[in-house]
Symmetry: C2
Subunit: 511 residues, 2 copies
């Protein structure tokens, strides 16, 4: 198959990250020194404006921390959280009860541990499980988040993902931002954390930042030293967009892979903490989404088409027309299989399946038309046209298509054990036309990060607490282990963000 690099380079964000890294490469290998004079003094400095950072800021205000400052290097607030799916896990709420769902913290705890494959830190998972209900009520009753329904996500024992009416993360972030405004909590954008500053005993005093920072230009903006009397919270997210950093931990994740994340997910705050001796855990558990198209950017719309059609249409390697994986396998199984092939694969289904399962169901006709118009999805009258377009060997494709249809009919796939459904129809010209699209995984979530305890305090390599340093959300590791359950990360961010605020309140910096 002729494969153009255009689609990789077109991603943009990966390149930006690569550019950023070479700039950061020139930075000092050391942390910044304590300044002769601080430009500003606050009580609690929060780095990041996603779920974790904003939850921490609001909690801090509510428990009486006076001078809270929230900074973010990007020009807009919300980080990855604002483009999140828009649901939070909670186990045992009144909303579940009303829907007839019986749930409790122990059940959530055991679900997290099971998904984590033995690597989740039990005391962190326990903390989330124990706080999830209170956190849900806090969001609804004290912050004003509007919830719509309790939904199901894979791996959970019961429906416990509380979705917001906005159907995306902005349904949390916007009310949280409004509350920050009401509380007069300053949110300073384009402000980059360049270094965390500690004294000669290893106590975190504050930070060196750059105001008026233009991402991703290293050394842009003006240096400012901020003293933080109750400590610094890192709530700066993951490193999915930092190619060099993710390749240290998983060399497969070259610039050939884009990310579903916002471009600022580049992990510098995590690196800054490492220079204080902070320990990192599970950094090599980097989750890829197998459902994205190389022909659109970010998360895109293709996942909404791909997911309802697994088990209805085949995925093939265009180089040889062969299927290569259980189409209904989990994210990791599918992503690893495509990565091993090394180039985008093709998925297709006939119109009867596409319109029976996806379009008009979880995807509107308008959205589907826009995918056709932008050339992400293509329509073909015949399998011959489809094969010609993607340069797939035609005879081999016919044979593979017949085989897939036969497996579907028998409801049994002896080759890859793909699961079929009763309402699937054979992918034939009679049931056509065919719709086809390419798939190439994107880096989606960093399971690993800074090691913390259940007070959101950052631990160093010798397992001591780093005084005055807190972390919450995707910048931390150990909460989920190998695999995270959908919507638990949202609870994780908020619960540990709020916990960090309480720990900061209790923290007395040695003078």
């Amino acid at each position: 198959m002729e494969f153009s690099r255009r689609h990789f380079l077109g991603a943009g964000s990966a390149l930006a990250a690569a550019g950023l890294m070479s700039a950061a490469g020139q930075a000092s290998a050391q942390t910044a020194k304590v300044p002769a004079k601080w430009d500003e003094t606050v009580d609690f400095l929060i780095v990041g404006t996603g779920f974790a950072g904003l939850a921490a800021a609001l909690e801090a205000h509510q428990i009486g921390i006076k001078n809270v400052l929230v900074i973010d290097k990007m020009p807009t607030p919300g980080g990855n959280s604002i483009i999140n799916g828009g649901a939070v896990a909670a186990a045992g709420t009144d909303m579940q009860k009303k829907a007839g769902i019986s749930d409790n913290p122990d059940l959530l705890y055991s679900d997290i541990l099971r998904a984590g494959g033995g690597l989740a830190h039990p005391e962190l998972a326990r903390h989330i499980a124990d706080e999830s209900v209170e956190n849900f009520y806090w969001l609804r009753d004290k912050i004003g988040v509007q919830f719509e329904a309790v939904t199901y996500h894979g791996g959970h024992s019961v429906k416990r993902s509380h979705s917001v009416t906005a159907h995306m993360g902005s349904g949390f972030i916007n009310p949280m931002l409004a509350k920050c405004k009401e509380y007069n909590i300053p949110i300073q954008l384009r402000t980059y954390l360049e270094d965390i500053i500690e004294d000669d005993k290893g106590v975190v005093l504050g930070a060196k930042v750059r105001t008026g920072y233009r991402f991703p230009r290293a050394n842009s903006g003006k240096v400012k030293y901020i003293r933080a009397r109750n400590g610094v919270l890192l709530a700066a997210g993951g490193f999915a967009q930092n190619v060099t950093m993710r390749m240290s931990h998983d060399p497969r994740l070259t610039a050939a892979f884009g990310s579903t994340n916002q471009p600022g997910a580049t992990g510098e705050a995590l690196q800054d903490a490492q220079f204080l001796g902070a320990n990192t855990v599970h950094m090599d558990w980097i989750q890829l989404g197998p459902w994205t198209s190389p022909d659109e950017q970010g998360f895109g719309k293709t996942p909404l088409l791909t997911e309802p059609l697994v088990g209805y249409g085949p995925m093939v390697d265009p180089a040889n027309a062969k299927r290569f994986v259980q189409e209904t396998g989990n994210r990791k199984v599918r992503a690893d299989a495509i990565v091993a092939i090394g180039h985008p694969v093709v998925m297709y289904a006939c119109a009867k399946n596409v319109f029976g399962q996806a379009v008009g169901k979880n995807m509107s006709k308008e959205m589907f038309d826009s995918l056709l118009k932008s050339g992400v999805v293509h329509e073909f009258k015949t399998l011959k046209d489809l094969a010609a377009f993607y340069k797939i060997p035609y005879d081999a494709l016919v044979a593979e298509n017949d085989k897939f249809n036969g497996y579907m009919k028998a409801m049994n796939d002896p080759q890859f054990h793909t699961k079929f459904f009763k309402d699937g129809v054979p992918n034939t010209e009679a049931n056509g036309p065919f719709y086809a699209w390419r798939l190439w995984p994107r880096v989606h979530h960093c399971m690993g990060g800074l090691e913390i305890n259940n007070k959101a305090q950052v631990l160093d390599a010798r397992h001591n607490v780093i005084p005055g340093l807190f972390a919450a959300g995707e910048v931390t590791g150990g909460v989920h282990g190998m695999v995270r359950l959908g919507t638990v990360a949202v609870a994780d961010c908020m619960i540990f963000g709020r916990t960090a605020a309480r720990s900061a309140k209790a923290y007395k910096q040695p003078m």
Copy 2:
């Protein structure tokens, strides 16, 4: 099953490590400051006397580094290396050719990458593959290591493990120590690296050590500052014996698990480097050996009995008499299954299998008798006696034993897909007596560690080289990825140790 903690506590080394950690927990969270006066100045300071440290010392001498000092915290030299299996991988030697084995560096490279599951750093694997033959000749022709045969280890494409006549790591270590003596390279034992010292630009200047150190007593011995003009090499091994540290990365590996390692494998040098901002990779890939007995210490002799008998006798959970895993599965599959059960399991086989496959083959009759005498292996005339001794439900065991024998006869195990062999006989009283022993995994090898480049320079969290800091061997990560191939770690230690010496020679410390 009644399960006594005695066997866990009896391991001793885990406890020692735990004790050490609480002591280390009192240490400063910061690295030591540059002293007003150095007590001693050398050219190259090497921490560790295993394969990596000694290879580095010898190479350093041979290329003309004058003042080399090797230190080790333990009272005897050789680290884990001296108790290693005693073979080194090399791809394309005259010894292979003589044995009719065709091999080359590309084949070794691809074997390492395949075993690494995508996580091995290609440039590190390449370096080992490219240097393995020269390293073998160096060992044989310049150091005087005596080789016996080219043997096979699982996962390699061909026989390429060059075994020494001594049949264990001392076959390398002893000639290396003799050569150090000949070269007048001082090896200072009971000397503990307490901290690596860098200047305010992040350049490594030397180390703070404790001489006359009594492992594992923190703060024992006398503080001494050693300046190292050409840098410091960390060749201090892994952290399999450090319970707190390994639980950060894999919470399952509690003190309930012993280790096959020498007690000094506690990882402090790795932690010291983290305080300079050194990056760590793959720390959660900690390999367990599934073949050890809780009734003897360390690696022990049980693995030599267990391995030839997989596929001949069943492994059962004593709580319910059920088999639980493919007995012929790989190390990870078996260890994970036993860990999930949470208590030791029982393996047994009838005398005809035991004497047909193990005793008198890879294990002498004397060794087997010593296992019987020490109560590691027990002899039972009947299955009833066996069940009574291990408190296994008898009727269930009879049923399971019959089932296993049936699978064996049919050469097909529909339950766990265990592989059987033609010379296996049914485990019956007629083929008895039965021999039985318990299995409980031990922590065996830390795949992860400090990130290095192919010059053995340590990289920091921002992917810059830490000037003057080198690392080689098990203290590093990234070389092997998820799984290491047998005897490649030995080549890894020696090749990167020697590479570090060459890098130190080329290194000019900024004055």
